[in-house]
């Protein structure tokens, strides 16, 4: 009851001021008149009655002032007055205002942008009720030492039936889908889901109904699907008649039974899945039956029963899982015990958290350092201003201003700067996050970062701005309000110099922190350089890549082969194309095809490697520039029906035939298909740039069935210019076949390195900003010394000191500060760069080259920053300097 009233009063005190003043006057006048009347009644003459009454009241204005004070608004009112005053003061020095706001906006903006990312990657959860009760089921096998989260469908059914600690279990697998509506085909991302999917997640329909267990009944009989709200809006204009619209998924008619609620875009936070199909339709999309026991493919997510902790549920899961293992629910799983685990599922089935956790934390640390450096810079700028304003402040103190009020006025300036800087930083961060998301997503197709700022980001920005304000504003405010009155009054404005120890410390701290940032950025930049120049085993320049999947558009194997060979011929005829080849696995995309290999007479020694495979057309090695070392390339004669052959890479050859030639040797792979080795090629990278070339075998594309296929063309000129022509050829063959990916091999390499590029670029940017701020600090302090010692320098010059000597005097001061900063910063950096180890490539975290280069850069920049004011000092006319006061 009381608080609303108090709030009402406060608001009234603040904003209803004129009325309140009037009421107060009326009230006191009433009192005065009553008093006079009483005095008159007591028999006093009129003027005496009035005089006594006024005396008793003791001065109307004093009473009013006391009333105002007791209303307790002066604090707010003073703050408002201080802010207005601060704005007037700041507006008078636009250069300072600009530097201050710019450095704050950049550093707060960078912090907000990176925090938006951290928020999206680490903190946000799936937009479903109680996401923290979701958990991902995984299993660790003792014998093989690997974790898997892939299960078969019977396992899902058993877990759903037996687990008491789960209130529900769902199964899920993402897949690309060709959607045809009207006469337009496009490739979208979809999910195969168990019937329990929507119920367990707690998603509601926008229109129609969602999938239920009935839809996930007998295999093949339920051609229904649910589409996402966004697809409904974008593709179907939000038309409710979509429920009776004929559509095709992978060339088969489906019925849309409902649209899911807005905001829900699938079971993985950082991706967008537009269509959910019940698992009863698995065979259509995956080419295997849902209930196949020997096929572990889907992921299982559980919802913990209310009040059940993940630990307790894990214990039950271990017991149930052990029973299921004993029942041999998954044939072929090795001996050895399985350790069942539950991973956090609040972001759904998402691997972005694991991928981006380290880079995001590193960047967050970098921007936090940047902010501290910017604060140190601001602090030293404000101290310099305070020193210049000392006479003014002393005068005000002498005239009776309270020290607290002076300090609060100075703090108001800091607060105002933080407010403007924070607001500008917020706007800046919106642009930065969007840019960042676009870059990062380039490396991982299908990823949609949920970077839209939420309340948490807003609170972060406000908190950061306030912390910054306290960090840089408190020291100057306290210092100048403590100024000794007499000393301050005595010193004339121009002579008001002291030994600015506080500022020196701040500048040294700036340098020290810049060292840390620069070194980190240097290491990351060199990592990127190493990755960009690593010998991949093929040449990335001038190669165009085109990925299609005829099988998804309803082609059978024969038709797909004809289509592929027609397309190859058409592309080869495009002027500027030198050679064309095709492969089942696209390089550097993360695509991978691995299988077991058996070589007669080979005794396993040590850890057996993974064997990677690729199905390739003739001319593959010539097109990519991978040298053929021995034997022959595949030819058109290696076709279905001809003897199965293989080409292996050097690692493969030396692993199985350390001495002796592999040519003519045989091996068996997968289910026991025997092939003869006809060639050996140089090692080449496969899935990505980072991992070294694996043990690889190549098989003729013509001898194996394939689905998705990537054509690669080496061109004489810029391959991007040929892209429209290539697309035209695809359209000429089949206008309804979607192009899954069209890029260049170099572009694919860059996309694979997007994480490293973003990290390298941003850390470089932040460290250069830090360097700039440190230089401003050094420049400022040297300029201050130069101004303070003008008179002394005049005397020195007049006495015959050489100008180089004067120059050295001031440069030495700057260099000493840098040296001090480096001495503090290097040990910190040595400790700090260790956390980067997992992100580096081809160099140790204590790489001496980087350390030397970065400190040299810093020393040079510091010297240059102090050289500017020092030159001015040395160049002055001694006579004039002597007259300087």
């Amino acid at each position: 009851m009381r608080w609303p009233r108090i709030l009402y009063m406060r608001r009234r005190s603040l904003f209803g001021r004129p009325r309140l003043e009037e009421e107060m006057t009326d009230e006191l006048r009433y009192h005065l008149e009553e008093q006079i009347r009483e005095n008159l009644n007591a028999g006093m003459p009129p003027d005496e009655a009035r005089r006594t009454a006024l005396e008793e009241i003791g001065g109307l204005d004093r009473v009013k002032e006391a009333c105002r004070d007791s209303r307790g608004v002066t604090l707010v009112e003073n703050a408002w007055r201080d802010l207005r005053y601060a704005w007037r003061v700041l507006a008078r020095s636009p250069a300072f205002l600009a530097v201050a706001v710019l450095s704050l906006a950049l550093s707060i903006g960078a912090n907000t942008a990176i925090f938006s990312f951290l928020n999206a990657v680490l903190l946000k959860a799936l937009p479903v009720p109680e996401p923290h009760r979701l958990a991902i089921v995984t299993r660790h096998n003792d014998q093989y030492g690997w974790d898997t989260s892939a299960f078969n469908y019977p396992m899902y059914r058993e877990l759903a039936r037996r687990m008491r600690a789960f209130s529900g279990v769902l199964a899920y697998w993402p897949m690309p889908v060709n959607l045809t509506a009207g006469n337009q085909a496009e490739r979208i991302s979809g999910e195969l889901v168990s019937g329990s999917y929507f119920r367990v997640l707690g998603v509601r329909p926008a229109i129609g109904r969602l999938l239920t267990d009935d839809d996930d009944g007998a295999e093949g009989g339920h051609a229904v699907c649910v589409i996402g709200y966004r697809l409904w809006q974008e593709r179907f204009g939000g038309d409710p008649r979509v429920l009776s619209m004929p559509i095709l998924l992978n060339a088969k008619p489906f019925q849309i039974v409902g649209v899911s609620q807005p905001g829900f875009e699938g079971a993985a936070l950082q991706s967008r899945h537009d269509v959910q199909v019940p698992m009863s339709m698995t065979e259509l999309f995956m080419g295997e039956k849902r209930d196949t026991r020997g096929w572990s493919w889907m992921q299982i997510v559980a919802r913990l029963a209310p009040g059940v902790s993940r630990t307790r549920a894990t214990a039950e899961l271990q017991a149930v899982g052990t029973q299921l293992d004993a029942a041999k629910l998954v044939p072929g799983i090795g001996p050895g015990a399985n350790l069942w685990k539950l991973a956090d599922g609040s972001q759904g089935v998402d691997w972005q958290r694991g991928q981006l956790r380290d880079p995001v934390l590193v960047l967050m640390a970098a921007v936090a350092l940047l902010l501290v450096i910017a604060c140190a810079n601001m602090g030293s700028l404000l101290l310099a201003r305070a020193a210049r304003r000392r006479p003014e402040i002393a005068m005000r103190l002498a005239l009776g201003a309270a020290r607290g009020r002076i300090a609060s006025q100075l703090l108001a300036e800091s607060l105002l700067l933080a407010g403007i800087g924070g607001a500008a930083g917020w706007l800046l961060s919106l642009a930065m996050t969007r840019l960042l998301a676009a870059w990062l997503a380039a490396g991982s197709p299908g990823v949609v970062f949920r970077i839209a700022p939420d309340a948490r980001v807003l609170v972060f920005t406000v908190a950061v701005s306030l912390c910054a304000c306290l960090l840089y504003g408190l020291l100057p405010a306290v210092q100048s309000s403590r100024a000794e009155l007499l000393d301050a009054l005595k010193s004339k404005p121009a002579g008001g110099f002291d030994r600015p120890w506080a500022r020196r410390v701040l500048v040294a701290a700036q340098v020290a922190l810049s060292v840390v940032l620069l070194l980190g950025a240097g290491l990351l930049a060199r990592t990127l350089r190493n990755l960009q120049t690593v010998d991949l085993g093929f040449r990335t320049e001038r190669v165009l890549m085109l990925t299609v999947n005829p099988a998804m558009s309803g082609y059978n194997e024969g038709a797909a082969r004809t289509f592929l060979s027609d397309l190859r011929q058409r592309i080869r005829r495009i002027p500027g194309v030198e050679s064309v080849t095709a492969a089942s696995q696209a390089l550097l995309t993360g695509d991978m095809f691995a299988a077991n290999v058996h070589v007669q007479g080979h005794a396993p020694h040590g850890e057996e490697p993974n064997h990677f495979f690729n199905l390739v057309s003739p001319d593959y090695f010539r097109t990519l520039g991978t040298p053929l070392l021995f034997g022959r390339d595949f030819t058109e004669a290696d076709r279905k029906g001809s003897p199965p052959v293989a080409i292996v890479n050097q690692r493969f050859a030396t692993h199985y035939w350390p001495s002796g030639s592999p040519l003519g040797q045989h091996f068996r792979w997968g289910g026991g298909i025997d092939v003869e080795i006809v060639g050996v090629v140089a090692d080449a990278h496969y899935q990505n740039v980072r991992d070294p070339a694996p043990v690889t075998a190549y098989l003729p594309l013509a001898q194996r069935p394939f689905e998705q296929v990537t054509l690669m063309a080496r061109t004489g000129g810029n391959p991007t210019r040929l892209m429209p022509l290539v697309r035209e050829q695809v359209r000429a063959l089949d206008p309804k076949l979607p192009v899954i990916r069209m890029t260049t091999l170099a572009g694919q390499r860059d996309a694979d390195l997007s994480r490293e590029r973003v990290l390298g670029f941003l850390s470089g940017l932040f460290s250069l900003l830090a360097l700039l701020l440190a230089c401003i600090g050094i420049y400022g302090i040297t300029a201050y010394s130069v101004a303070a010692r003008t008179h002394e320098v005049g005397i020195r010059l007049a006495m015959g000191a050489r100008r180089s000597h004067v120059l050295g005097l001031f440069v030495r001061e700057g260099v000493l500060l840098v040296a001090l900063g480096v001495a503090i910063g290097v040990p910190i950096a040595l400790a700090a760069t260790r956390v980067l180890a997992s992100l580096l490539f081809g160099l140790p975290p204590r790489d001496p080259v980087t350390f030397v280069a970065c400190t040299a850069l810093l020393a040079l920049a510091g010297a240059a920053a102090s050289l500017i004011p020092a030159t001015r000092a040395a160049a002055q006319d001694p006579a004039r300097a002597l007259r300087h006061e």
């Binding site: 009851m1 009381r2 608080w3 009233r5 108090i6 009063m9 406060r10 005190s13 009421e23 009326d26 009230e27 006191l28 009433y30 009192h31 009553e34 008093q35 008793e56 009241i57 003791g58 001065g59 004093r62 009473v63 006391a66 009333c67 004070d69 007791s70 209303r71 307790g72």
Partner: protein, 110 residues
């Protein structure tokens, strides 16, 4: 007129609340009432009364409204809020405890 007794702030607050517990009054009437009831011992200086009223209103113990007096004049009347009533009863308890404690100490000192 004897010299008015100096009042500590807390005591003034509780006096005002008590005076308002029967009916709403304007400032003048509050001062007069306290003076009468205390048999002219307690004289509230205006310089303390009005700030105290504003403070109490600000704290939400009392509320103010403009009304006609019996004489037909416009005056600012103060009345207790529910919170103010609670505050008064707890202040009264405190006061009883405090005054009996002080009484004990003073008697012992004799």
């Amino acid at each position: 007129m004897s010299k008015p007794t100096n009042l500590i702030q807390g005591a003034l607050d509780v006096l005002i609340l008590k005076t308002l517990s029967t009916e709403p009054k304007h400032g003048w009437a509050i001062a007069k009432r306290i003076r009468q009831v205390s048999q002219e011992v307690l004289q509230i200086p205006q310089g303390s009364l009005y700030p105290a009223l504003h403070r109490l209103e600000h704290q939400g113990w009392i509320r103010a409204e403009w009304r006609e007096t019996e004489a037909g004049r416009h005056a600012k009347f103060y009345s207790l809020t529910r919170a103010g009533r609670n505050q008064l009863s707890s202040e009264l308890e405190n006061w009883d405890r405090l005054s009996s404690a002080i009484g004990l100490v003073l008697r012992m000192a004799e």
